[in-house]
Amino acid sequence: MEPDDTQIRVARWHSNDEAAREHARDRLSLLLKLVASGDKEAMSEVYKLTSGRLYALLMQMLPSQGDADEVLQEAYLTVWRRAQSYTPGQASPMTWLITITRNKAIDRLRSDKNARKAEPLDDLTEEPVDDKPSAFNLIETDQEHQRLHYCLGQLEDRQRDAIRTAFFSGVTYQELAERAAVPLGTMKSWIRRGLIRLKACLET
């Protein structure tokens, strides 16, 4: 039996999608290589392609827009200085950028303890979700990303909420416990049990 026209079109769409993702990721890897050699035009391109996502993350993590602006700048200057340490085989380029940005934000939070965003746990459980993927957004909307979503969905609500809040706030166990008004041991056990289940699910 021949596949009908719809099936063929769906298959084509998927393979184009896959190619577009791979293309976007490779393009970013190559741009980082150019940045590593001091190419400012490539740096500008990396910024154009990725700053919206990194800025959105910083707006979640930091108490004020001023902090987000400053840390975004610090993060990209770190990218400029450290691009040579990026190894394509070890991490996706976007993950590498996100890790640098989160670490900068965490440094800022730790050095400025009084200026933290004091939000109750519940307010952070619903992140604004990007429902209109553009060509470049496809970069990480890949199978691993879908897998992570699926596996987070398998956790108990409080485990998932605690892990997401930890990721998007960058605060310590102690502060997470205070925000959720539970004992420190309880918060630790929510997160640790959630991580164990998450790991088991991601590995299957």
Binding site: L34, R53, Q73, I98, T99, R102, D130, N137, L148, Y173
Partner: protein, 251 residues
């Protein structure tokens, strides 16, 4: 795996600590201790990398927010304040020695450049299209080199497909040089300099690597372009200025 009470196996515990470090849950002193431990512990640093890769994907759920224009302006000022080669300060030894081979040769002589922005974008796209189509047929890692001129900007982009033993080199800028032609050289890891022939200055060109050079065309080798008399360097020895160079590395 014990989930509720009792002791976790060591591997499981190490993986959890890695995840806690990645999330930023640990107090500063504990995080620092764990980072130091990871430096000498491959399994732990692999756990950290692994969790980093998995958890970072959560950030992809956020709807992008355009930062204020002032942020890029500040970044650009900082980049311009630093010398163009600042990012290369920690350059790998191979690149450094490739440069030293040519350091006495004047850069930029008789060379003018135009239309950089669009040309470089077009060449990156061309190289990636080539890379993608060949990657589908190949299990081998392709190599790429961005060949830079003195100002730190790409002048040529080269990709090498080890399966097909073919290199594609694309000019990223227009070179308006009338009486000399660009010639491509391979600088092997043991510092031999071998000509790969004269290349086109205005269009992409595919070069088949001769069998005797296949082993040397590997990550860590460098590519250098010099300007030579029409027909190529007399006697296979470079005579003209090096106008661009870069190191091959896996993409």
């Amino acid at each position: 795996m014990t989930d509720d009470n009792g002791t976790l196996p060591d591997r499981e515990e190490a993986s959890l600590r890695a995840a806690e470090l990645v999330l930023g849950l640990l107090p500063a002193d504990e995080a620092e201790r764990l980072r130091r431990e990871a430096a000498g512990n491959d399994a732990l640093s692999a756990d950290i990398a692994h969790w980093g890769e998995s958890l970072a994907r959560m950030a992809e759920d956020l709807r992008p927010v355009t930062p204020p224009r002032s942020v890029w302006i500040s970044i650009e000022q900082a980049l311009n304040a630093s010398p163009a080669t600042s990012a290369g300060e920690t350059g790998e030894p191979v690149r450094a020695s490739a440069i030293s081979l040519w350091e006495n040769i004047a850069f930029w002589r008789g060379l003018s450049l135009a239309g950089f922005g669009t040309a470089v974008a077009a060449s990156i796209i061309a190289v990636l299209l080539f890379w993608q189509s060949s990657a589908l047929l190949s299990h081998h890692k392709n190599l790429v080199a961005a060949l830079q001129a003195g100002g730190g900007q790409a002048a040529f982009v080269a990709t090498y497909d080890p399966q097909r033993k073919q290199m594609v080199i694309v000019p990223a800028r227009v070179i308006t040089e009338t009486d000399r032609v660009p010639e491509l050289w391979l600088v092997t890891k043991d510092k031999r300099v071998v000509s790969l022939g004269v290349i086109a200055s205005k269009s992409a060109q595919a070069i088949v690597i001769p069998p005797e050079l296949v082993d040397d065309t590997s990550a860590g080798a460098a590519l250098v372009i010099t300007l030579e008399p029409p027909g190529g360097a007399p006697g296979g020895v470079a005579t003209g200025p090096a106008i661009a160079q870069g190191e091959l590395s896996p993409i």
